[in-house]
């Protein structure tokens, strides 16, 4: 749905983007990860037709960004990292205005605006002046604004920046709902735990260069060397833990076993089926209380990848 190939962009002597390439398949949530100044916003602005790459190609829904920017504008919804609202307009008028700007027929504008306000849970604030809304509400309204023309692709630049925890959770739920509606979503952020929960695909950028991009699990496993499991036994005595460690290490797919006072962590290779490992423990009469996959730490992946890029 989104394809970026070898994008280069210089601002004077400063290299903003250096051979940036990635793809985002239809219906996926792509987390665009990088520190401030890495090139995330520059890339998104190029995709949003607000900036022009020096070289390289980018397409959105098969439409080349450089050759047909007007066509691209029809299929994208863009939410910048910072955006303002107009004074003395109500929420419904605000959305109707942007619906008009996106060419939504006059007779449908009110209905579209009303539906979107309900979607972002601002239905009860439709007559509230937009400049009186809280930051979180404005962000949700901004997301609704990006949806007025029902775009297939959403470009969200730091959508959760400056939000309190509750507003972040609401924003995350909203983005998940949009994915269920079939939207392809590109989100830039440097708040990694949030992206980890939300994204299915991920791209890491640092200093204008892509460190890695692809499906989240693939990248994480590739960098961290497989999955990690957390196992808790019903009886956490030294003897039981030692026996469990011995059993786990006997499995050919287990890479490493670490013992902790209250649990065991096991690093396993790609070929290991978790159920087989659990069956092995049960077979050896070890009473397992908990057996779970440890979510990969995206921060660690990011640190390792960017360290490689910088070195």
């Amino acid at each position: 749905m989104i394809s970026v190939e070898n994008l280069h962009k210089n601002f004077g002597s400063q290299v903003a983007l250096d051979s940036v390439s990635f793809t985002v398949p239809k219906g996926e949530i792509f987390g665009f990860v990088g520190p401030n100044g890495a090139g995330k916003t520059t890339t998104i602005r190029i995709l949003a037709t607000l900036s022009q790459a020096d070289t390289g190609e980018a397409t959105v829904a098969g439409i080349p960004v450089g050759a047909d920017p007007a066509g691209v504008r029809n299929v994208i919804g863009y939410m910048p990292d910072f955006f303002g609202v107009y004074d003395r307009l109500t929420s419904i008028e605000y959305l109707e205005f942007y619906a008009a700007c996106h060419g939504v027929p006059r007779r449908r504008r009110a209905a579209v605006a009303g539906e979107l306000l309900e979607l972002v849970d601002l239905g009860d604030r439709r007559e509230a002046q937009v400049d009186t809304l809280s930051r979180g509400m404005k962000q949700r309204l901004g997301l609704a604004r990006a949806l007025v023309h029902d775009p297939a692709v959403l470009l969200l630049d730091e959508p959760a920046s400056g939000l309190d925890p509750r507003a972040r959770v609401e924003m995350k739920e909203l983005i998940r709902e949009l994915r269920r509606m079939g939207k392809t979503i590109l989100i830039s952020s440097h708040i990694l735990p949030e992206l980890e929960e939300l994204c299915t695909w991920v791209g890491f950028i640092d200093g204008g260069r892509m460190a890695a991009a692809g499906p989240m699990a693939e990248i994480r496993d590739g960098v961290l060397g497989g999955r990690r499991l957390r196992i808790e036994l019903a009886e956490m005595s030294e003897g039981e833990l030692a026996r469990a460690e011995e059993v786990l290490q006997s499995h050919p797919g287990v890479v490493a076993v670490s013992r902790f006072p209250d649990h065991i962590e096991v690093a396993v290779g790609e070929q290991v089926v978790d159920d087989d490992l659990l069956a092995l423990l049960v077979e050896r009469r070890l009473r397992v209380r908990s057996f779970a996959l440890i979510p990969g730490d995206l921060s660690e992946v990011f640190m390792r990848l960017t360290r490689d890029v910088r070195s």
Binding site: D54, T55, I76, R88, A100, C101, R106
Partner: protein, 325 residues
């Protein structure tokens, strides 16, 4: 798309509606209108009273007509002054304000064209000025009852005022697109407004004075020129245009000949003050100049706004060569 569909699409500009709603909801809109009407009303009232008291100025005309003409002229001049003050203020923050509010990018990602944005902002700004001019018409009509001013003079005075508002608002829009912030845009707009009004008057006065000092008539032509001490710069001054229109001479009258001059640059009418170049009525030259100024400013503003969007890419090989250098 037919031309009428295009015209309808141009008028159905969401920015105009949004700006109008937003502006009319602010406390400033009714306050400015009240102050505007009060000042013009006061000026008219003062001149009617003063003129009635000094009835020796009639010079063969009915006193009411003289008083009416004086009051109308004072109100028209004052209205022009107010329009020169309001128009830059209303338009100078139109585009830079979008930038400052961080709403411009969102607008540029929509289907509204750069022309649509500039056009919408112009109509929204000028619309409020037109509203002010419209609300002042009843005040003018009261003075109109005294006589001394005919309908053409009234009409032309309003045409000059509207043309001046349009040109100053267009220049302010250009400044608004040129500068990142509203403050420098406003300063530049007022500088341009100053140059167009007081600047042209000062230059004209200085050039006229210099010519008068140096001119020693040695021929019939130079004698004619000496009798017409109006220099070209005056024609770009809207206040001078208003003077010529409000004079009881036929110089400023709207005639079929005047329009033909506009179209074909014909021969000068008697009483038209210009030496060399196209022979047009002074008001017509002013309005024409202001219209050209407005068009140039608007084209510039559209190009500047369009420049903020991505344009067609350069050829890959050219750009790659630049990067490798």
């Amino acid at each position: 798309m037919s031309i009428w569909t295009r015209v309808a699409a141009g008028l159905d500009n969401p920015i105009v509606v949004k700006e109008a709603v937003s502006r009319m909801r602010s406390w400033r809109a009714p306050v400015v209108a009240t102050v505007y009407l009060s000042l013009i009303g006061l000026i008219g009232f003062a001149f009617l009273n003063l003129g009635t008291a000094a009835n020796s100025y009639s010079a063969g005309r009915p006193v009411a007509a003289v008083v009416g003409a004086q009051a109308f002229a004072a109100m028209a001049f004052f209205q022009l002054v107010l329009v020169c003050l309001f128009s830059p203020a209303l338009a100078a923050g139109a585009i830079s304000g979008e930038r400052e509010r961080q709403t411009l990018d969102v607008l540029l990602v929509s289907r509204v064209s750069a022309f649509g944005i500039v056009w919408g902002k112009l109509i929204a700004s000028i619309g409020y000025v037109l509203l002010l001019i419209l609300t002042a018409l009843p005040l003018f009509s009261v003075v109109f009852l005294f006589g001394g001013i005919d309908f053409q003079q009234f009409l032309l005075s309003q045409v000059i005022t509207i043309a001046t508002a349009l040109s100053l608002a267009s220049i302010a829009l250009f400044c608004s697109a040129l500068f990142q912030r509203s403050l420098p845009a406003t300063v530049a707009s007022y500088a341009a407004s100053f140059l167009l009004t007081i600047g042209t008057a000062v230059i004209s006065f200085l050039v006229g004075a210099s010519q008068a000092v140096n001119r020693v008539p040695t021929s019939k032509l130079q004698a004619v020129q000496a009798a017409q001490p109006v220099v070209a710069e005056w024609f770009f001054n809207p206040f001078y245009a208003l003077v010529t229109v409000l004079q009881p001479s036929p110089a400023g009258r709207l005639t079929a000949r005047g329009f033909s001059q506009l179209l074909f640059f014909g021969q000068p009418e008697s009483g038209v003050v210009a030496v060399g170049g196209p022979q047009l009525d002074p008001w017509l030259i002013t309005v024409l100049f202001e219209a050209l100024l407005a068009i140039a400013a608007l084209v510039g503003a559209v190009l500047l706004v369009r420049g903020r969007r991505a344009m067609r890419p350069r050829r890959t090989s050219e750009a790659a060569a630049e990067v490798s250098e």
